[in-house]
């Protein structure tokens, strides 16, 4: 997908004015956020699991080449093939070549973020294959020709009404002529339409939540069962996975699985957790005859060598975006690419460039909630800070911002001047905002307050209050 991150500000502004999106985002609190909290409260070992997970993943990253080679050897032993891709282009070429060699027509996909990252659907379609997303959320987006807006719940921004319209439009020719309005009827209709696709597919593509060096397995975690049907029914299976998905053992995967569902959707475990190893065995009753893994770098080795290495621990649970006040107001599309929220604000600049996605590291209040909930303890605010300083060093932030910051630091380093300038302003602001406790509009700063509410200061500056307190003590 073409990145559109440079328009973050405009995207965000329009997102704030979309009532449907706003009510969907509000639901995150009562859904995913509350669910995670319940899981957290019910598991005294949660913090210990986070520490151990971080340790295991750091160990894996320190030895990434060796574990990838072990993994590769096990896949080959099990009869599968491993293809390496440095870039999205290479990955797409490999996938298309496999599909061509298999003389495939129909490709079905189980949801995978790496598939979005490398833009596999457009590439396959351009090469003449029919591609169908089978995760319900992704399917809805495919019909609506939209990118996902959340990494776990991709169609979170779509209303039932919009889905009803899309289904009627696209399923009418298949004999579904009634516009369904009940959720269950919509799910059922998609089940019937997609069942045919599953049965007709030549190639099934999935991602991998983890790759296991010990066994050469890929792990997928779903609630719908679409990933399993995609791995089982077609005659060829292609797994696309990033190089940072590998973990040493089945036990290591079990550790991470205890954190993944709880952090993502508030589930101790999802309905289906599947470990797939190689193609069907000689005597197996079913399963695909070919099993391919495409291992993709796409800037991850670069991250490995930089201060952003901790980002490679990410298990794509989505907790950071569920808990992010910025994501919670603007939703995923505003970020303009595949990965939204705090993790996206780190990944997008690295994958599409800081010049395109320079707004993202700044679309953060550094409140730290993301780091607090991240199951693998990624210091997201720090990583964003370090991207900001890269940006500053590359002189990519706006000249106005640079001048304002320099001016502010000049004043702030001169306490008397700072006091002189801030005290009257605070008094005025407190009077103006006294009735509501906040500002919708503030003179001279409409660039800030047009889409933000500024809390009214409580009457005096911190310094003034500090001095008052010192006087009171005496």
């Amino acid at each position: 997908m073409q990145p559109n991150s440079r328009h973050f500000q405009a995207n965000a502004e329009s997102a704030l004015r979309e009532p449907n999106l706003q009510s969907a985002l509000k639901q995150l609190e009562s859904g995913f956020v509350a669910g995670r909290q319940r899981c957290y409260d019910a598991l005294p070992e949660f913090e210990a699991l986070r520490d151990r997970a971080k340790e295991v993943l750091d160990h894996t990253l320190d030895n990434l080449d060796a574990y990838l080679l072990e993994y590769e050897a096990r896949v080959l032993e099990s009869g599968g093939l491993v293809h390496w891709a440095g870039t999205p282009e290479e990955a797409r070429e490999i996938v298309i070549r496999i599909c061509r060699d298999a003389e495939a027509k129909n490709v079905i996909r189980g949801k995978s973020m790496i598939g979005e990252e490398i833009g596999i659907n457009d590439a396959l379609e351009a090469s003449g294959f029919e591609v169908t997303e089978t995760d319900l959320g992704e399917y809805i987006l495919q019909l609506g020709k939209e990118p996902p807006s959340h990494i776990v719940a991709p169609a979170i921004h779509k209303t039932k009404d919009e889905i009803s319209d899309l289904f009627l439009e696209h399923h009418r020719d298949l004999g579904f002529t009634k516009r369904q309005t009940e959720r269950s009827a919509l799910v059922n209709e998609a089940r019937q339409v997609l069942r045919e696709k599953f049965l007709a597919a030549d190639v099934g593509m999935t991602g991998a939540n983890f790759l296991i060096a010990e066994t050469g397995s890929n792990v997928i975690v779903t609630n719908e069962g679409n990933g399993d049907l995609s791995s089982t029914l077609p005659r060829v299976q292609i797994v696309t996975a990033a190089i940072d998905k590998v973990v040493p053992t089945l036990e290591d995967a079990s550790l991470l699985l205890r954190l993944l569902g709880r952090s993502a959707t508030g589930q101790e475990i999802t309905a289906y957790t599947t470990f797939t190893t190689g193609p069907r065995r000689e005597r197996d009753a079913d399963g695909p005859g070919e099993y391919h893994v495409v291992l993709i770098d796409n800037h991850r080795s670069e991250m490995l060598g930089s201060e952003l290495r901790p980002m490679l621990r990410c298990i794509r649970c989505g907790a950071c975006m569920n808990h992010c006040p910025v994501y919670g107001r603007v939703g995923g599309h505003a970020y303009g690419w595949v990965y939204p929220g705090p993790m996206g604000s780190v990944l997008t600049p690295l994958m599409v460039g800081l010049d395109e996605a320079g707004h993202l590291p700044n679309a953060c209040t550094l409140n730290g909630r993301c780091e607090t909930v991240c199951p693998v303890k990624i210091p997201l605010p720090n990583l964003l800070r370090s991207l900001r300083s890269r940006q500053h060093l590359q002189r990519q932030n706006s000249s106005l911002a640079r001048i304002a910051l320099s001016l502010w630091s000049w004043v702030a380093l001169r306490p008397r001047l700072y006091q002189l300038l801030t005290r009257p302003a605070m008094t005025l602001l407190a009077r103006l905002g006294a009735s509501s406790g906040g500002f919708r509009n503030m003179p001279f700063a409409s660039g800030w307050t047009r889409v933000r509410d500024l809390p009214a200061p409580q009457g005096s500056t911190f310094q003034a209050r500090w001095q008052q307190q010192q006087r009171d003590r005496k």
Partner: protein, 216 residues
Amino acid sequence: MSSAREQVLARIRAALGRGELDPARTTELRDRIAMHRRHIEPAFDETPRQRFRQKLEAAEASFVELDTLDAVAAEIERYLEAHGAEKRIATSGDELLHAIDWPASIDAQPWVAGSDHRVSVTAAYCGIAETGSLLLVSGEKNPTRLNFLPDYHIVVIEAKQLVLRMEDAWDSLRASTKQMPRSVNFISGPSKTADVEQTVEYGAHGPRCLHVILVG
């Protein structure tokens, strides 16, 4: 020009500030794998049996406990009648199911390629108490699709097959087979989705209903 594989590996090594690992270190890492070290295993108060049932029921699976395998066929008939489901079922070839004496009123056939049954009966390799998960593995007699294609999935599991955690299942699998089966499915409830307005609906792509029969 070197292959993408060599380039990726070279970039990783450069990022880690070293060359290829020396053989001693590689052996250490292989040993780490071979140790199968377990991590933190959350404690629970319930008995494994209680826990297994509770978790599955909380995930909207239905659950019955029977004393002997003899009672399984009647239970399945009752279940199908209660759901108004047809009494035509595909079974896996698992040994455990051979012991079931099907009445004439049920048409139970071992699965063959191309069959389109709406009800399947399979046997679990084991059950995981911690998460309330059934572990089903693929093989000559166990087609994976029976776990996902039908509307009703009925799983028979013997009480002695219950283990505490996923890690116990790994040990058991390692002891019983040389190689990981191609598909290892942990199933912890019927298929569901929350992709329409964040509200859970059952029967997305996999079975609409999961029925667990614990024997013994």
